[in-house]
Amino acid sequence: MTRYLTPQKIGLLCLISLYCDGVVPSVSVIPVLSFILSHLEVAQFSSGKSKERVIGYGFFIPIRDFENLTMAHSSSVPGRTLFDLFLNKLWSINSLDSLHSFFDDLEQYLAKGRNVPHDVDNSELSNRDRILLSRTSPCGAYVRRAQLEFTRLQFDDAIKLWAAFFKYREPTTTAWKRRHPGTRTSVNDASIQDLDNSHDLFSIAMANLDIDDDQTGLVAADDIEAILDFQVQRLQRLGNRIPDEMKSQFRKMLTPSVATPSLLHFVRFFDAWRAGDYTSAFDNLHRYFDYTMHNRDKSYYHYALLHMAILHADFGCFDEAIATMSETIATARENQDLNCLNFSLSWLNHLNKAYPKRMKGTEYGGMIGSEREGIAFLKAKARESKNYALLSSTLLSEAKLRLSNGDTAPKALEQLFQSSHLNITHRITNNFGTQLLMLSALYGRIGLQHLSTSYCDLILDCYRDHSPVEEALRAICRNAFTAAQAGRFTQAMSIFQSIDPDVHRTLKFHQYLISFSGLLKLRRALRRSDITAISHLLLSLRAGCASDPDLLFQFSLLEIEHRLRQQDFPLALRKIEDVNADLENADTDIYQRIHLLILKAQLWAKVDRPELGFSLAMRAAALSWRSRILPALWEALGLVVGILNEMGECEAARGILASTIPHAIECGDLALVAHLHGHMATAHIGLAGKYISIPSSSPSTPSRATTPDFSPPVLTHLSRAEFFLDNALECYTHLEDVEGQCECLMKKSIVARVRGDEGVSEDWAQRYLDTRRKAEEEFGEDRGEAGMRI
């Protein structure tokens, strides 16, 4: 494998020389030049800054492309197409020596440099109708680079290039022969065509160069490095894996060469890492840095450590990760590499936030002080060094910190928009995904569910190619979650099914997706009271969710809910206390704490001690109001209302609910809406009860005895209650919440009885029983289904 030159590059040089010879008529100049340039771009920018240009241009130009291009244009030589002339050029290289001369002759197409004396006037005269390339023009630079690279070739590499070129040119043999019927038989090597058995000799001379293999010689080390660069970029930034067919093609390309570029090990490392192959990831990382060490001395050492630390953390070895990271920071300081230093700090920050508990145990504490300080430091540094990518991501993490501390939304929004501005003005495509995701989360918090969803869609539709796969996945999961919350469970599942199967090849993503969909299923199973599925899912998720703190929290919530539904209150309480203790230890997102408060309040409500839950619910409501987590606020208010109902303050409850329900509907949480509707119905029944004002005894006995003779307000309240019950029932049916349905049906039956419609009441009671039975029958199906899904 040559370093740079490939047969197709010779083809391009032929085309350039045709252009310079002035045989390209002016009509065809633009297509020819744009063809040349489109391929030069690959060559020129692959090593330059804008690596993204690599995408979209092929490295390999089949000879057919040249043919198609030149065939279409006639040349300024009468009766000849450009293709004829191109063929002539191509076939004028008929021996190894003429290949050498070809590269020597390229000099004549270049304008004389400034320090070359213009003494040879007559040669310039003869070149008058020839287009001279400026030495710094794209074509000129390309020609010069090609010349230089050819000079650098060892003799046997030159032979290989010649052989590859010979092979590359082969498809045009018939065309060439047709155009030159008079030429001598030999199409091999002009230097030996007068010998008798030139063909044998030629095949011997080419023997060891395995001409049969398609790939040999067609790629240069330079190209491979560019491809690898591209891969590293994809792997590093987007986090996906190398497709299998790419891998096999790569292997084919690399087998003939002895020198494997060290970057390949890096690619392998990433691939193994993504695949969750811990050992070979380590192996390859070490190999990469061993091979890189000798040519780029120690300046990349800290990058090695950085990757190692991330790798450790990825596999959950925090002690090692922190140790490695400290070393990284030390080395980066020594080498005064600000970028690396900043990145390490922000990464540590991130890690600290994601795994606060684990980090506590690793004696990490005093390294960067508090989080706020760390962020301030990073921000200052980023401003100082004009590192806008860092600044943008620091702003994002600051906004996140604010949100999780329960600060007000406007400030966070301001920071998000600042970051967005930076992203747009400085084209920091990496951060778009994160920023939009945060925006979506923020809108979700303040109860604007539709906005949140549309931001997720924005990520998926517009920025998918630029943002890491992980963020796209999070957006997908959020959408699925929203769908599930609104009771569109099948839609949620189909979202999961529509994910590109390639994503599952990365272990982390696979685990995340499985856990997330498992959580959704668990929620559904809880509502359906599908005990087998629940126990199965609980078991399998307990292991799966451990990797992601968010998922773990969700899981704990569901676990508690399960206990509550099972009426296993002591256990539920203990679980709540446990989780709470965990949260207390670290400064976690306020949202999670509010949720725990709500759950606790629910617990008290369930055990018929609503007074105990009242203060909790009020605290939750106050907290969520302060930090503008509106869905939580409505939920807390729902609890408060339940307590009020319980205590007979039905009017107040009704008032609160009347203003809450519309907001709750806006939040898109169907369960919450159903809940609130249920409370509303209760409140109305309570109000109706006040008008009846029956002496205190059990409410059912007098209703049976007395005839249904109610005052109009009572009737109004009762019908309202029925209306809300219907609403709630509808919601519950939608959610497939058996308990909720049953409760509603029971209440309806009671209301009917209160009204005196015994028959209707019986009907409802019958439906209640049916629902129960149906749910019980469904378990059988569900069991199988759940078993299969997980």
Binding site: L96, D97, H100, D104, F155, I159, I192, N208
Partner: protein, 644 residues
């Protein structure tokens, strides 16, 4: 020699077979290759083996009784039996030693048969050591000592480090030589005291070691002895040939040699090495080729003979055939590349380089071919790189040293050039190109007396090459020995004419047509005479230069009508013409001077000077005419006694 009888051919075949096996047994790979090649060059049809004639019959079978070509070595049957018994006994150890050698573990190979330490320098001879070596068969002893020698060579190469580096002064010596030669001396004296002779191989080894330690006369003696005892060891012949530096020596030596086919081949080879491309050598070669019609080696010798006589086309075609018949043969491809270089056949040279590289890119020959190619493309740095690679592969690879010297001259690196040339002549003192290159380099440095010395060496190697003598002449001129210079130039003239007469045909080579003398040389002689103030001689030579323009008279030509005109007008002849014109002008031969000057104007060379000269002549003629008229007037006046 022509047409050997069938039995003789069979005999020869048998000998060659045995020789191949013997060489292989002793790990003389190159020798074995050479003999095997020769063996396969025998015409196959004539050497059909009669049934029952076992090819594995060993050398001492009764057939060896009628050996007409080789003199029967005077080795007693007794000794032979003894040898074979010893060989039988040490078979196991021999096999071990041989495998070690094949794996290039030379020291280990030696230690199988020899005590761990050999006597070094003038150490007191170990009483047991002669005993121990006497108990060995000669084959084993040879292998062991040869292994030791190779180990020393390897170490020597390693110590020399980089080519032309600080350690590579060509002075590192093989430290084992002394020990080996002591052992061998002891062994021989022991053997001879018992009235026994060796089998030829040990003599060869001893000769090699003597030659390495520059004890050349003695070495020659031992080689001669070796080839007497065993003529089919090509290595011995090669070494012997490298020790011969003149033709006279060769003819002296030939008398001492046995009369067999190997001697013939040797003679042809040595003559070729000494650049004797005479009719006689060609004839000898033809005779041998009758026996070995397919021998690539002999064909190469023929091509080289043509090359020496500057008959490049012929040489090229022979090499080209060789290439076609055996494309994987890299031996002597470097010579082929030299020929292609001189003929400037760049595409072909590129192809040969490609072929060689495909076969084996790490052979010194291959590297030389590639280097030559780059040199022809004027990429001297790359050429040097490849020559260096060749030398790293084989420090004794002569042509690479010389060619590298040429490249360094091109790159104006005179010091490196001198060192390279020096190393070349150290390897082979018969390489006239290196001597000549040394001379040239010193001339560039304007150290003419040094240059003279080297040119003289080159000229003595190539007495019939006018270029050498010209160089000698010019150097003499520069150091002020004018008469010597003239003599050298005259020698060059003679040499030039010799080549034309000697080879009879010279297609497009440098030589001039029959009877044409080199005008440059003539002009140089003329200039030297001028410096000697011998104007007459000078003028005569200038005239000679002029006469070369037309060439000899029509009737002098042999074939009549073939295109052997003169050299035509060249800058040199023009310069001569100018000189003559001026000279005539000074002598007062205005008419001739005028003619010459006008000719110059016609030829369009030095027109301005010529015109000026013409003007001068006119003026002089005018003034003379005036003088004449005045004289005539005075005459008349005197006649008529007019008085004023």
């Amino acid at each position: 020699m022509t047409g050997l009888a069938k039995s003789e051919l069979l005999q020869l075949q048998l000998h060659l077979q045995t020789a191949t096996i013997a060489c292989t047994d002793r790990c003389l790979y190159q020798g074995a290759k050479w003999v095997a090649e020769l063996l396969n060059a025998l015409p196959t049809s004539s050497v059909e083996e009669p049934p029952g004639y076992g090819s594995d019959t060993d050398i001492d079978s009764p057939t060896s009784e009628h050996q007409p070509v080789t003199p029967t070595p005077e080795r007693g049957l007794n000794g032979d039996l003894n040898e074979r018994k010893l060989e039988q006994k040490e078979m196991k150890r021999y096999l071990l030693a041989k495998t070690f050698f094949d794996c290039r573990e030379f020291d280990r190979c030696a230690s199988v048969f020899l005590p761990k330490t050999l006597p070094k320098g003038q150490a007191i001879p170990n009483p047991t050591s002669p005993h121990s070596s006497a108990n060995l068969s000669q084959k084993a002893l040879f292998l062991a000592l040869y292994g030791r020698y190779m180990a020393g060579e390897k170490r020597k190469d390693e110590e020399s480090e980089m080519i032309l580096g600080p350690q590579d002064g060509g002075v590192t010596i093989n430290k084992e030589l002394n020990g080996i030669s002591l052992t061998l001396e002891e062994w021989f004296s022991n053997r001879h005291s018992r009235g026994l002779e060796g089998d030829g191989w040990l003599e060869y080894l001893y000769g090699t070691i003597l030659a390495k330690s520059k004890n050349e006369d003695l070495a020659k003696k031992w080689f001669v002895r070796s080839v007497h005892l065993y003529p089919y060891n090509w290595g011995a012949w090669l070494e012997l040939s490298s020790l011969i530096s003149t033709v006279e020596e060769l003819s002296l030596l030939t008398e001492q040699l046995p009369q067999n086919i190997m001697t013939f081949i040797f003679h042809v080879y040595s003559s070729q090495e000494l650049y004797q491309s005479t009719e006689q050598v060609h004839n000898e070669l033809t005779q041998i080729q009758n026996i070995f019609p397919d021998s690539a080696f002999l064909k190469t010798q023929r091509a080289l003979l043509f090359y020496h006589s500057k008959d490049y086309d012929e040489a090229e075609s022979i090499f080209s055939q060789l290439l076609q018949s055996d494309p994987h043969r890299i031996d002597s491809l470097d010579n082929y590349s030299n020929i292609l270089y001189v003929m400037e056949l760049r595409p072909k040279l590129a192809f040969v380089a490609q072929l060689a590289t495909t076969t084996d890119k790490f052979r010194p020959e291959t590297c030389c071919v590639v280097g030559n190619y780059y040199s022809l493309k004027s990429e001297h740095e790359k050429a040097v790189m490849y020559f260096r690679r060749a030398l790293t592969l084989d420090r004794n690879f002569l042509s690479a040293w010389t060619l590298m010297g040429h490249e360094y001259v091109e790159m104006k690196n005179t010091h490196a050039a001198i060192e390279s040339y020096r190393r070349a002549v150290d390897v082979n003192r018969k390489d006239y190109r290196a001597w000549y290159g040394l001379g040239q380099t010193y001339e560039v440095l304007e150290m003419h007396s040094y240059a003279l010395f080297y040119y003289q060496r080159a000229a003595s190697l190539r007495p019939y090459d006018p270029k050498m003598w010209q160089a000698v002449g010019s150097c003499f001129g520069k150091v002020g020995k004018l008469m010597n210079g003239i003599r050298a130039y005259k020698r060059a003239l003679v040499a030039g004419s010799y080549y034309d007469g000697g080879t009879g045909n010279s297609f497009g080579s440098e030589g001039f047509g029959g009877g044409i003398l080199d005008p440059e040389t003539l002009y140089a002689i003329a200039l030297l005479y001028e410096r000697l103030d011998d104007r007459e001689e000078c003028a005569a030579y200038m005239e000679l230069v002029l006469s070369q323009e037309e060439g000899p008279e029509e009737d002098d030509l042999l074939g009549g009508g073939n295109e052997r005109g003169g050299v035509g007008v060249t800058p040199t002849t023009s310069k001569a013409r100018m000189w003559l014109a001026r000279w005539e002008f000074m002598r007062g031969g205005y008419q001739r001077s005028m003619e010459l000057a006008n000719e110059l104007c016609q030829d369009g060379v030095e027109v301005e000077d010529a015109k000026a000269l013409v003007r001068d002549i006119r003026a002089r003629l005018e003034s003379e005419k005036e003088d004449g008229t005045r004289a005539a007037v005075e005459e008349v006046e005197r006649k008529f006694g007019r008085k004023t």
